[in-house]
Symmetry: C2
Subunit: 243 residues, 2 copies
DNA sequence: CCTTGACCCTCACGTTGCGTCGGGCCGTAC
DNA sequence: GTACGGCCCGACGCAACGTGAGGGTCAAGG
């Protein structure tokens, strides 16, 4: 790092940028080295390096090269609005990134120990996620995610096992024509409501969204929701009778 | 949306993609419509639309077009590792985005009500942020951010006012040669330590990093840290004497 | 039959910020 | 003298389209 002016390779090493990047900055006129040797070598002075460090600093904030140029080349430029614009934009992008991570995390967790997952299963699950996202607000989804972490994956699998059994039992009672106020049906209703409550975490909004989804969609997660409608009515009656 | 096959414009409206995008997918062979009319119009069948929706689904996860192609075109493809790779990558990017947002937020907040900010001030502050980031771990910075929000901006400005005054008083006592165990110096030491404590929030690690920074850097935020070294020793003696 | 307007086609260049060649000159050490 | 590494310029490549230019097609209306 002996005498200024320095050649391009020195500058590259010093700043961590690539030689090509410095060529590029020169080419677009963002940083033109003050001198050229007789052989055509770019020669950078201390002032050039200072400007380059400013460029690097502004780039760290995610500014585009043209914005960096605007900052450095117009002496009375006030970067405040630029920063605020960038902040808003960055926050948006971060939100999008966060949601994407959530989705990926869910998918990764969903098949945590599974060896191989087929593309069909993946697409199926994405489709379900999209359907679900249609009915819950982002905040509700966040709530559900937290709740899912609270109850643990083991319990979730337990419940996923239990649901179809419970539905079978309810269907049986319905077909037998059992009175909703009978003790057997009451017990089923209590189990039903308990599972729902475990899912919603007692949040009324989430339960509302869940019901809206059940009434609008005809199938999800392999369950025929249309066929569930009468069951829900039946259980609803039993629950009402219990009170 | 009458009879399949549909023309490109219909498909575009239906999927929310642009016509150009569909052209592009055709060009790279990701989605070639099953038919062409005699006039050369692209004609998409229901199967084409189904594939397109799969493409859109996978793109939502942030997959590159080539990855989408790999998923859809090799029948025994298992996307699990792809998802995990993507998740790791996405988390990294989100972390970077978060740090960038933090920096921008700090800058925006730093000049909250100021009308115009010069580029020099901006660059100066970025430089300080870089120096600070050299000495604190990301977790510590997060802690400091939270702490800053707790104490409020008004108090921060108060402290920023108070520091130079306190330093002046300490310097005066030093030059007078006052005994560190004297009551006057003890009082100064108590004020000094109190301010430090208010900054660190009582965190030993942060205080350590702060001291490292003070000993390594020669100037920050317009304060001559080299000149502060003897003052810190002096206060240290006074504090030790107090105990 | 002609026009109009919506829709479609195929090039083909622009975008961002460089990475990565290829072919050839320059500088220094052995 | 020559070998090796640094530097030059020019040009293509990248991801995923956007945005024209210039021109055909189709259905309805005058």
């Amino acid at each position: 790092m002996r005498p200024p002016p320095w050649r391009i390779g020195q500058i590259a090493k010093r700043t961590g940028l690539s030689v090509r990047t410095l060529h590029w900055y020169d080419e677009i006129g963002l940083l033109t080295p003050s001198f050229r040797g007789e052989s055509g070598y770019r020669l950078y002075t201390a002032a050039d390096v200072a400007r380059l460090q400013q460029i690097v600093s502004l780039r760290q904030l995610g500014f585009a090269l043209e914005e960096v140029r605007a900052c450095l080349d117009s002496p009375d430029f006030s970067p405040l609005t630029l920063i605020q614009r960038h902040l808003a934009h960055s926050r948006d992008r971060m939100e999008a990134q966060r949601r994407l991570c959530d989705r990926l995390e869910f998918l990764a967790a969903h098949w945590g120990e599974t060896e191989t997952v087929s593309v069909e299963e993946l697409l199926q699950t994405i489709e379900e996620m999209n359907v679900i996202a249609k009915y819950y607000s982002p905040e509700q989804l966040e709530q559900l995610k937290v709740r899912g972490e609270q109850v643990g994956k083991a319990r979730i699998r337990q419940v996923e096992d239990e649901w179809p059994k419970l539905m079978d039992e309810v269907r049986t009672e319905m077909e037998k024509g059992s009175d909703p106020s009978s003790e057997v049906v009451q017990a089923l209703a209590r189990r039903w409501m308990s599972l729902i409550h475990e899912f919603t975490g007692g949040d009324a909004g989430i339960e509302k969204s869940l019901q809206t989804m059940y009434s609008q969609e005809q199938s999800i997660h392999g369950t025929d929701l249309k066929a569930m409608q009468p069951m829900m009515d039946y259980i609803g009656k039993a629950w009402a009778a219990a009170k």
